[in-house]
Symmetry: C2
Subunit: 253 residues, 2 copies
Protein backbone atom coordinates (compact mmCIF):
# COMPACT_ATOMS: atom_id res chain seq x y z
CA UNK A 1 0.00 0.00 0.00
CA UNK A 2 1.36 3.43 -0.91
CA UNK A 3 1.53 6.27 1.58
CA UNK A 4 -1.27 8.00 -0.35
CA UNK A 5 -3.55 4.97 -0.11
CA UNK A 6 -2.77 4.55 3.60
CA UNK A 7 -3.51 8.21 4.29
CA UNK A 8 -6.87 8.06 2.50
CA UNK A 9 -7.82 4.88 4.28
CA UNK A 10 -6.94 6.41 7.66
CA UNK A 11 -9.20 9.37 6.82
CA UNK A 12 -11.96 7.02 5.66
CA UNK A 13 -11.80 5.26 9.05
CA UNK A 14 -11.68 8.58 10.89
CA UNK A 15 -8.27 7.64 12.32
CA UNK A 16 -6.76 10.67 10.57
CA UNK A 17 -8.70 13.81 11.49
CA UNK A 18 -6.05 16.52 11.12
CA UNK A 19 -4.53 18.74 8.43
CA UNK A 20 -2.79 17.39 5.33
CA UNK A 21 -0.42 20.36 4.91
CA UNK A 22 3.21 19.15 4.94
CA UNK A 23 1.96 15.53 5.17
CA UNK A 24 2.37 12.66 2.65
CA UNK A 25 5.09 14.50 0.69
CA UNK A 26 5.53 13.71 -2.98
CA UNK A 27 1.84 13.21 -3.84
CA UNK A 28 -0.39 15.73 -5.60
CA UNK A 29 -2.90 17.15 -3.10
CA UNK A 30 -6.23 18.56 -4.21
CA UNK A 31 -8.91 20.93 -3.08
CA UNK A 32 -12.45 19.62 -3.53
CA UNK A 33 -15.69 21.13 -4.80
CA UNK A 34 -18.90 19.11 -5.13
CA UNK A 35 -21.88 20.54 -7.01
CA UNK A 36 -25.12 19.18 -8.47
CA UNK A 37 -24.90 18.49 -12.20
CA UNK A 38 -27.18 21.47 -12.91
CA UNK A 39 -24.44 23.84 -11.69
CA UNK A 40 -21.49 21.83 -13.00
CA UNK A 41 -21.17 23.42 -16.44
CA UNK A 42 -21.07 26.97 -15.07
CA UNK A 43 -18.50 25.98 -12.48
CA UNK A 44 -16.39 24.19 -15.10
CA UNK A 45 -16.38 27.36 -17.20
CA UNK A 46 -15.51 29.29 -14.03
CA UNK A 47 -12.46 27.05 -13.53
CA UNK A 48 -11.46 27.49 -17.19
CA UNK A 49 -11.62 31.27 -16.78
CA UNK A 50 -9.66 31.19 -13.52
CA UNK A 51 -6.84 28.69 -14.09
CA UNK A 52 -4.59 30.17 -11.40
CA UNK A 53 -6.94 29.57 -8.43
CA UNK A 54 -8.85 26.66 -10.02
CA UNK A 55 -6.54 24.38 -12.05
CA UNK A 56 -8.52 21.21 -12.63
CA UNK A 57 -6.90 17.86 -11.98
CA UNK A 58 -10.11 15.88 -12.49
CA UNK A 59 -13.87 16.24 -12.94
CA UNK A 60 -15.90 13.15 -12.03
CA UNK A 61 -18.90 11.79 -13.90
CA UNK A 62 -22.25 12.64 -12.23
CA UNK A 63 -22.93 10.43 -9.21
CA UNK A 64 -19.56 8.68 -9.37
CA UNK A 65 -17.55 9.34 -6.16
CA UNK A 66 -14.42 7.64 -7.52
CA UNK A 67 -11.85 9.84 -9.28
CA UNK A 68 -10.82 7.29 -11.90
CA UNK A 69 -7.89 9.30 -13.21
CA UNK A 70 -6.03 10.48 -10.12
CA UNK A 71 -7.02 7.90 -7.46
CA UNK A 72 -9.31 5.15 -8.81
CA UNK A 73 -9.66 3.36 -5.46
CA UNK A 74 -10.53 6.50 -3.56
CA UNK A 75 -13.98 7.61 -2.50
CA UNK A 76 -14.59 11.36 -2.41
CA UNK A 77 -17.40 10.83 0.12
CA UNK A 78 -15.13 9.52 2.85
CA UNK A 79 -11.46 10.01 1.98
CA UNK A 80 -11.00 13.58 3.15
CA UNK A 81 -10.76 14.37 6.83
CA UNK A 82 -13.09 17.38 6.84
CA UNK A 83 -15.65 18.97 4.50
CA UNK A 84 -17.66 22.18 4.55
CA UNK A 85 -21.29 22.40 3.42
CA UNK A 86 -22.57 25.66 1.94
CA UNK A 87 -26.28 26.20 1.29
CA UNK A 88 -27.54 29.36 -0.40
CA UNK A 89 -24.31 31.14 0.45
CA UNK A 90 -24.31 30.19 4.11
CA UNK A 91 -21.55 28.08 5.65
CA UNK A 92 -23.94 25.58 7.15
CA UNK A 93 -21.79 22.83 8.65
CA UNK A 94 -18.47 21.05 8.83
CA UNK A 95 -18.72 17.29 8.37
CA UNK A 96 -16.26 14.39 8.31
CA UNK A 97 -17.93 12.47 5.48
CA UNK A 98 -20.44 13.00 2.65
CA UNK A 99 -22.18 9.63 2.89
CA UNK A 100 -25.59 11.25 3.43
CA UNK A 101 -24.91 14.33 1.30
CA UNK A 102 -23.62 12.74 -1.91
CA UNK A 103 -26.36 12.58 -4.55
CA UNK A 104 -26.93 10.78 -7.84
CA UNK A 105 -26.20 14.02 -9.66
CA UNK A 106 -23.15 15.07 -7.61
CA UNK A 107 -20.12 16.11 -9.66
CA UNK A 108 -16.72 16.30 -7.96
CA UNK A 109 -14.10 18.83 -9.00
CA UNK A 110 -10.54 18.20 -7.88
CA UNK A 111 -8.45 21.35 -7.98
CA UNK A 112 -4.68 21.12 -7.64
CA UNK A 113 -3.39 22.44 -4.31
CA UNK A 114 -0.22 24.37 -3.62
CA UNK A 115 0.39 21.98 -0.69
CA UNK A 116 1.68 19.73 -3.50
CA UNK A 117 4.90 21.64 -4.05
CA UNK A 118 6.01 22.30 -0.47
CA UNK A 119 8.10 19.15 -0.53
CA UNK A 120 9.66 20.04 -3.89
CA UNK A 121 10.42 23.53 -2.56
CA UNK A 122 12.21 22.06 0.42
CA UNK A 123 14.30 19.78 -1.78
CA UNK A 124 15.18 22.83 -3.90
CA UNK A 125 16.52 24.64 -0.85
CA UNK A 126 13.45 26.57 0.29
CA UNK A 127 12.66 25.40 3.85
CA UNK A 128 9.07 25.10 5.02
CA UNK A 129 7.38 28.43 5.64
CA UNK A 130 6.59 29.14 9.31
CA UNK A 131 3.07 28.30 8.22
CA UNK A 132 0.90 28.50 5.08
CA UNK A 133 -1.54 31.34 5.55
CA UNK A 134 -4.79 31.54 3.55
CA UNK A 135 -5.92 35.10 2.82
CA UNK A 136 -8.73 36.85 0.97
CA UNK A 137 -7.64 39.59 -1.46
CA UNK A 138 -9.10 42.60 -3.20
CA UNK A 139 -8.67 40.82 -6.58
CA UNK A 140 -11.80 39.42 -8.21
CA UNK A 141 -12.17 36.20 -10.16
CA UNK A 142 -13.56 36.22 -13.72
CA UNK A 143 -17.27 35.33 -13.38
CA UNK A 144 -19.03 32.48 -15.19
CA UNK A 145 -22.78 31.96 -14.96
CA UNK A 146 -23.75 32.34 -11.30
CA UNK A 147 -20.21 32.00 -10.01
CA UNK A 148 -18.17 35.03 -8.95
CA UNK A 149 -16.26 36.25 -5.94
CA UNK A 150 -12.91 37.35 -4.54
CA UNK A 151 -9.63 35.59 -5.21
CA UNK A 152 -8.09 33.79 -2.24
CA UNK A 153 -4.33 33.28 -1.92
CA UNK A 154 -1.88 31.31 0.15
CA UNK A 155 1.10 33.14 1.64
CA UNK A 156 4.48 31.60 2.42
CA UNK A 157 7.43 33.35 4.04
CA UNK A 158 10.92 33.01 2.65
CA UNK A 159 14.08 35.01 1.96
CA UNK A 160 14.37 37.19 -1.12
CA UNK A 161 16.74 34.69 -2.75
CA UNK A 162 14.39 31.81 -1.99
CA UNK A 163 11.53 33.74 -3.61
CA UNK A 164 13.40 33.54 -6.92
CA UNK A 165 13.90 29.79 -6.57
CA UNK A 166 10.25 29.35 -5.59
CA UNK A 167 9.14 31.24 -8.70
CA UNK A 168 11.30 29.10 -10.94
CA UNK A 169 10.26 25.85 -9.32
CA UNK A 170 6.51 26.41 -9.04
CA UNK A 171 6.35 27.48 -12.70
CA UNK A 172 6.71 23.76 -13.34
CA UNK A 173 3.44 23.08 -11.47
CA UNK A 174 0.71 24.88 -13.44
CA UNK A 175 -1.87 22.32 -12.23
CA UNK A 176 -1.05 23.29 -8.64
CA UNK A 177 -1.49 27.07 -9.08
CA UNK A 178 1.81 27.50 -10.94
CA UNK A 179 4.03 30.53 -10.44
CA UNK A 180 3.31 33.03 -7.65
CA UNK A 181 0.49 35.46 -8.24
CA UNK A 182 2.33 38.14 -6.28
CA UNK A 183 5.59 38.71 -4.41
CA UNK A 184 6.15 41.26 -1.65
CA UNK A 185 3.88 43.99 -0.25
CA UNK A 186 0.55 42.34 0.67
CA UNK A 187 -1.23 45.70 0.35
CA UNK A 188 -0.86 45.67 -3.44
CA UNK A 189 -3.31 42.75 -3.74
CA UNK A 190 -5.36 43.82 -0.72
CA UNK A 191 -4.43 40.84 1.43
CA UNK A 192 -5.26 41.56 5.07
CA UNK A 193 -2.68 39.71 7.17
CA UNK A 194 -4.39 40.65 10.41
CA UNK A 195 -7.49 38.66 9.45
CA UNK A 196 -6.46 35.47 7.65
CA UNK A 197 -8.95 32.78 6.61
CA UNK A 198 -6.51 30.32 8.12
CA UNK A 199 -3.24 30.78 10.00
CA UNK A 200 -2.22 33.05 12.87
CA UNK A 201 -2.89 36.79 12.39
CA UNK A 202 0.27 38.72 11.41
CA UNK A 203 0.91 42.29 12.50
CA UNK A 204 4.41 42.71 11.11
CA UNK A 205 6.48 40.94 8.48
CA UNK A 206 9.95 40.30 9.95
CA UNK A 207 13.04 41.97 8.46
CA UNK A 208 14.52 39.96 5.59
CA UNK A 209 11.31 38.07 4.89
CA UNK A 210 9.61 38.18 1.49
CA UNK A 211 5.99 37.05 1.54
CA UNK A 212 5.15 35.04 -1.59
CA UNK A 213 1.53 34.57 -2.68
CA UNK A 214 -0.04 31.83 -4.78
CA UNK A 215 -3.62 31.66 -6.03
CA UNK A 216 -5.46 29.23 -3.77
CA UNK A 217 -8.03 26.48 -4.21
CA UNK A 218 -9.94 27.85 -1.23
CA UNK A 219 -11.18 30.50 -3.70
CA UNK A 220 -14.33 28.39 -4.46
CA UNK A 221 -15.31 28.71 -0.80
CA UNK A 222 -15.34 32.50 -1.05
CA UNK A 223 -17.18 32.05 -4.33
CA UNK A 224 -19.80 29.92 -2.52
CA UNK A 225 -20.34 32.74 -0.02
CA UNK A 226 -20.58 35.39 -2.76
CA UNK A 227 -22.57 33.44 -5.38
CA UNK A 228 -24.95 31.55 -3.09
CA UNK A 229 -25.47 28.31 -5.05
CA UNK A 230 -28.19 26.11 -3.57
CA UNK A 231 -25.70 23.47 -2.44
CA UNK A 232 -21.94 23.43 -2.65
CA UNK A 233 -19.62 21.18 -0.68
CA UNK A 234 -15.89 21.75 -0.38
CA UNK A 235 -12.93 20.39 1.52
CA UNK A 236 -12.13 22.32 4.69
CA UNK A 237 -9.12 24.63 4.28
CA UNK A 238 -5.92 22.69 5.03
CA UNK A 239 -7.65 19.29 4.81
CA UNK A 240 -6.75 18.26 1.26
CA UNK A 241 -7.49 15.19 -0.86
CA UNK A 242 -4.39 13.09 -1.48
CA UNK A 243 -4.19 11.62 -4.99
CA UNK A 244 -2.05 8.78 -6.35
CA UNK A 245 -0.29 11.22 -8.71
CA UNK A 246 3.40 11.83 -8.01
CA UNK A 247 4.03 15.56 -7.77
CA UNK A 248 7.37 15.38 -9.57
CA UNK A 249 5.74 13.60 -12.52
CA UNK A 250 2.68 15.82 -12.83
CA UNK A 251 4.06 19.06 -14.07
CA UNK A 252 3.76 21.11 -17.22
CA UNK A 253 1.65 19.37 -19.86
CA UNK B 1 -5.60 48.60 -35.61
CA UNK B 2 -3.41 45.69 -34.58
CA UNK B 3 -2.31 43.01 -37.02
CA UNK B 4 -4.64 40.57 -35.27
CA UNK B 5 -7.64 42.87 -35.70
CA UNK B 6 -6.74 43.51 -39.34
CA UNK B 7 -6.42 39.79 -40.04
CA UNK B 8 -9.80 39.00 -38.50
CA UNK B 9 -11.46 41.82 -40.38
CA UNK B 10 -9.96 40.60 -43.66
CA UNK B 11 -11.39 37.14 -42.95
CA UNK B 12 -14.75 38.63 -42.01
CA UNK B 13 -14.84 40.40 -45.39
CA UNK B 14 -13.69 37.24 -47.21
CA UNK B 15 -10.60 39.11 -48.39
CA UNK B 16 -8.43 36.59 -46.50
CA UNK B 17 -9.37 33.07 -47.52
CA UNK B 18 -6.10 31.15 -46.94
CA UNK B 19 -4.21 29.42 -44.14
CA UNK B 20 -3.12 31.18 -40.95
CA UNK B 21 -0.06 28.98 -40.32
CA UNK B 22 3.09 31.15 -40.13
CA UNK B 23 0.89 34.27 -40.47
CA UNK B 24 0.34 37.12 -37.98
CA UNK B 25 3.31 36.08 -35.82
CA UNK B 26 3.26 36.92 -32.13
CA UNK B 27 -0.46 36.38 -31.53
CA UNK B 28 -2.02 33.33 -29.90
CA UNK B 29 -3.86 31.29 -32.53
CA UNK B 30 -6.75 29.00 -31.64
CA UNK B 31 -8.60 26.00 -32.93
CA UNK B 32 -12.39 26.28 -32.74
CA UNK B 33 -15.16 23.92 -31.68
CA UNK B 34 -18.82 24.99 -31.60
CA UNK B 35 -21.41 22.77 -29.90
CA UNK B 36 -24.99 23.19 -28.68
CA UNK B 37 -25.23 23.87 -24.94
CA UNK B 38 -26.63 20.36 -24.37
CA UNK B 39 -23.27 18.85 -25.37
CA UNK B 40 -21.07 21.58 -23.88
CA UNK B 41 -20.57 20.10 -20.41
CA UNK B 42 -19.41 16.74 -21.74
CA UNK B 43 -17.04 18.43 -24.15
CA UNK B 44 -15.69 20.69 -21.43
CA UNK B 45 -14.94 17.63 -19.29
CA UNK B 46 -13.36 16.05 -22.38
CA UNK B 47 -11.01 19.04 -22.70
CA UNK B 48 -10.18 18.86 -18.97
CA UNK B 49 -9.27 15.18 -19.35
CA UNK B 50 -7.19 15.83 -22.47
CA UNK B 51 -5.23 19.01 -21.74
CA UNK B 52 -2.46 18.24 -24.25
CA UNK B 53 -4.68 18.18 -27.38
CA UNK B 54 -7.43 20.45 -25.95
CA UNK B 55 -5.97 23.25 -23.79
CA UNK B 56 -8.79 25.74 -23.39
CA UNK B 57 -8.12 29.42 -23.96
CA UNK B 58 -11.78 30.43 -23.69
CA UNK B 59 -15.32 29.06 -23.49
CA UNK B 60 -18.04 31.47 -24.56
CA UNK B 61 -21.42 31.95 -22.92
CA UNK B 62 -24.28 30.22 -24.79
CA UNK B 63 -25.33 32.19 -27.87
CA UNK B 64 -22.60 34.79 -27.51
CA UNK B 65 -20.28 34.74 -30.55
CA UNK B 66 -17.85 37.23 -29.00
CA UNK B 67 -14.89 35.80 -27.07
CA UNK B 68 -14.79 38.50 -24.40
CA UNK B 69 -11.51 37.36 -22.87
CA UNK B 70 -9.19 36.79 -25.81
CA UNK B 71 -10.68 39.00 -28.56
CA UNK B 72 -13.71 41.01 -27.40
CA UNK B 73 -14.30 42.68 -30.77
CA UNK B 74 -14.14 39.43 -32.70
CA UNK B 75 -17.07 37.42 -33.99
CA UNK B 76 -16.63 33.65 -34.08
CA UNK B 77 -19.29 33.42 -36.79
CA UNK B 78 -17.27 35.32 -39.38
CA UNK B 79 -13.69 35.86 -38.26
CA UNK B 80 -12.19 32.56 -39.36
CA UNK B 81 -11.50 31.89 -43.02
CA UNK B 82 -12.91 28.37 -43.14
CA UNK B 83 -15.07 26.11 -40.96
CA UNK B 84 -16.12 22.45 -41.14
CA UNK B 85 -19.63 21.25 -40.25
CA UNK B 86 -20.05 17.73 -38.82
CA UNK B 87 -23.51 16.20 -38.44
CA UNK B 88 -23.95 12.79 -36.80
CA UNK B 89 -20.30 11.96 -37.40
CA UNK B 90 -20.31 12.93 -41.07
CA UNK B 91 -18.16 15.72 -42.43
CA UNK B 92 -21.02 17.50 -44.13
CA UNK B 93 -19.63 20.74 -45.50
CA UNK B 94 -16.92 23.38 -45.46
CA UNK B 95 -18.23 26.91 -45.07
CA UNK B 96 -16.68 30.38 -44.89
CA UNK B 97 -18.98 31.74 -42.17
CA UNK B 98 -21.44 30.52 -39.52
CA UNK B 99 -24.02 33.29 -39.92
CA UNK B 100 -26.80 30.80 -40.67
CA UNK B 101 -25.47 27.99 -38.45
CA UNK B 102 -24.89 29.87 -35.18
CA UNK B 103 -27.73 29.24 -32.73
CA UNK B 104 -29.01 30.76 -29.51
CA UNK B 105 -27.53 27.82 -27.61
CA UNK B 106 -24.17 27.67 -29.44
CA UNK B 107 -21.12 27.49 -27.19
CA UNK B 108 -17.69 28.26 -28.65
CA UNK B 109 -14.55 26.52 -27.41
CA UNK B 110 -11.23 28.14 -28.29
CA UNK B 111 -8.36 25.69 -28.01
CA UNK B 112 -4.78 26.95 -28.09
CA UNK B 113 -2.96 26.07 -31.32
CA UNK B 114 0.65 25.11 -31.77
CA UNK B 115 0.78 27.59 -34.67
CA UNK B 116 1.20 30.07 -31.81
CA UNK B 117 4.78 29.13 -31.01
CA UNK B 118 6.28 28.84 -34.52
CA UNK B 119 7.42 32.44 -34.34
CA UNK B 120 8.91 31.97 -30.86
CA UNK B 121 10.71 28.84 -32.11
CA UNK B 122 12.22 30.79 -34.98
CA UNK B 123 13.43 33.54 -32.65
CA UNK B 124 14.99 30.82 -30.47
CA UNK B 125 16.99 29.47 -33.40
CA UNK B 126 14.64 26.78 -34.72
CA UNK B 127 13.82 27.72 -38.33
CA UNK B 128 10.38 27.04 -39.75
CA UNK B 129 9.73 23.36 -40.42
CA UNK B 130 9.39 22.48 -44.13
CA UNK B 131 5.73 22.30 -43.31
CA UNK B 132 3.47 21.50 -40.33
CA UNK B 133 1.94 18.09 -40.93
CA UNK B 134 -1.26 16.98 -39.16
CA UNK B 135 -1.40 13.24 -38.48
CA UNK B 136 -3.74 10.77 -36.80
CA UNK B 137 -2.11 8.42 -34.26
CA UNK B 138 -2.82 5.10 -32.58
CA UNK B 139 -3.12 6.91 -29.22
CA UNK B 140 -6.62 7.38 -27.83
CA UNK B 141 -8.00 10.37 -25.95
CA UNK B 142 -9.57 9.93 -22.49
CA UNK B 143 -13.35 9.76 -23.09
CA UNK B 144 -15.94 12.01 -21.42
CA UNK B 145 -19.67 11.46 -21.92
CA UNK B 146 -20.25 10.88 -25.63
CA UNK B 147 -16.85 12.18 -26.69
CA UNK B 148 -14.00 9.84 -27.57
CA UNK B 149 -11.61 9.22 -30.45
CA UNK B 150 -7.99 9.10 -31.58
CA UNK B 151 -5.39 11.68 -30.71
CA UNK B 152 -4.19 13.87 -33.59
CA UNK B 153 -0.71 15.40 -33.65
CA UNK B 154 1.24 17.98 -35.57
CA UNK B 155 4.71 17.08 -36.83
CA UNK B 156 7.58 19.49 -37.39
CA UNK B 157 10.99 18.65 -38.77
CA UNK B 158 14.17 19.92 -37.13
CA UNK B 159 17.69 18.88 -36.23
CA UNK B 160 18.34 16.83 -33.10
CA UNK B 161 19.81 19.87 -31.33
CA UNK B 162 16.83 22.00 -32.30
CA UNK B 163 14.50 19.34 -30.84
CA UNK B 164 16.01 20.03 -27.42
CA UNK B 165 15.49 23.78 -27.78
CA UNK B 166 11.94 23.18 -29.03
CA UNK B 167 11.17 21.04 -25.97
CA UNK B 168 12.49 23.68 -23.62
CA UNK B 169 10.72 26.52 -25.35
CA UNK B 170 7.30 24.94 -25.87
CA UNK B 171 7.18 23.85 -22.22
CA UNK B 172 6.46 27.52 -21.59
CA UNK B 173 3.28 27.29 -23.70
CA UNK B 174 1.01 24.78 -21.91
CA UNK B 175 -2.08 26.53 -23.31
CA UNK B 176 -0.79 25.87 -26.82
CA UNK B 177 -0.18 22.11 -26.38
CA UNK B 178 2.96 22.56 -24.29
CA UNK B 179 5.98 20.28 -24.61
CA UNK B 180 6.16 17.71 -27.41
CA UNK B 181 4.08 14.58 -26.99
CA UNK B 182 6.72 12.54 -28.77
CA UNK B 183 10.13 12.90 -30.42
CA UNK B 184 11.57 10.61 -33.09
CA UNK B 185 10.22 7.37 -34.62
CA UNK B 186 6.64 8.06 -35.77
CA UNK B 187 5.84 4.34 -35.54
CA UNK B 188 5.92 4.44 -31.73
CA UNK B 189 2.76 6.57 -31.64
CA UNK B 190 1.31 5.00 -34.79
CA UNK B 191 1.51 8.15 -36.90
CA UNK B 192 1.18 7.24 -40.58
CA UNK B 193 3.27 9.74 -42.51
CA UNK B 194 2.12 8.40 -45.85
CA UNK B 195 -1.46 9.44 -45.15
CA UNK B 196 -1.48 12.77 -43.30
CA UNK B 197 -4.68 14.67 -42.50
CA UNK B 198 -2.92 17.72 -43.86
CA UNK B 199 0.49 18.18 -45.50
CA UNK B 200 2.29 16.31 -48.27
CA UNK B 201 2.64 12.53 -47.81
CA UNK B 202 6.12 11.56 -46.55
CA UNK B 203 7.80 8.29 -47.55
CA UNK B 204 11.18 8.84 -45.90
CA UNK B 205 12.50 11.11 -43.18
CA UNK B 206 15.75 12.69 -44.42
CA UNK B 207 19.08 11.93 -42.69
CA UNK B 208 19.73 14.25 -39.74
CA UNK B 209 16.07 15.19 -39.29
CA UNK B 210 14.26 14.58 -36.01
CA UNK B 211 10.47 14.66 -36.33
CA UNK B 212 8.88 16.34 -33.29
CA UNK B 213 5.22 15.78 -32.47
CA UNK B 214 2.82 17.96 -30.52
CA UNK B 215 -0.75 17.12 -29.51
CA UNK B 216 -3.04 18.96 -31.93
CA UNK B 217 -6.27 20.90 -31.70
CA UNK B 218 -7.54 19.07 -34.77
CA UNK B 219 -8.18 16.17 -32.38
CA UNK B 220 -11.81 17.32 -31.85
CA UNK B 221 -12.41 16.78 -35.57
CA UNK B 222 -11.43 13.12 -35.27
CA UNK B 223 -13.55 13.03 -32.12
CA UNK B 224 -16.52 14.36 -34.14
CA UNK B 225 -16.10 11.53 -36.65
CA UNK B 226 -15.78 8.89 -33.91
CA UNK B 227 -18.41 10.20 -31.45
CA UNK B 228 -21.05 11.37 -33.91
CA UNK B 229 -22.56 14.32 -32.01
CA UNK B 230 -25.69 15.70 -33.72
CA UNK B 231 -23.95 18.94 -34.69
CA UNK B 232 -20.36 20.03 -34.22
CA UNK B 233 -18.64 22.84 -36.07
CA UNK B 234 -14.87 23.32 -36.11
CA UNK B 235 -12.28 25.46 -37.81
CA UNK B 236 -10.75 23.85 -40.91
CA UNK B 237 -7.27 22.45 -40.25
CA UNK B 238 -4.70 25.22 -40.80
CA UNK B 239 -7.30 28.00 -40.73
CA UNK B 240 -6.97 29.22 -37.15
CA UNK B 241 -8.66 31.94 -35.11
CA UNK B 242 -6.30 34.80 -34.31
CA UNK B 243 -6.76 36.24 -30.81
CA UNK B 244 -5.58 39.54 -29.34
CA UNK B 245 -3.38 37.67 -26.84
CA UNK B 246 0.37 38.10 -27.28
CA UNK B 247 2.01 34.70 -27.43
CA UNK B 248 5.04 35.77 -25.43
CA UNK B 249 2.80 37.00 -22.61
CA UNK B 250 0.45 34.04 -22.48
CA UNK B 251 2.58 31.28 -21.11
CA UNK B 252 2.63 29.19 -17.96
CA UNK B 253 -0.04 30.24 -15.48
Amino acid sequence: MTEAQAARLAMRRNEWTGYTAFRVPGYVQCNLVVLPKADAHDFLVFCQRNPKPCPLIEVTDPGDPHPSHCAPEADLRTDLARYVVYRDGVREAEVTDLVDLWREDSVGFLIGSSLTFDDALERAGVPKSKEVWVLETRLQTVPAGKFHGPLVVTMRWMTHAQAVIATQLTSRFPFNHGAPLHIGDPGIIGANLENPISGEPVTEIPEGIMPVFWACGVTPQSVALASKPGLMITHASGYGFITDLRADQFCIP
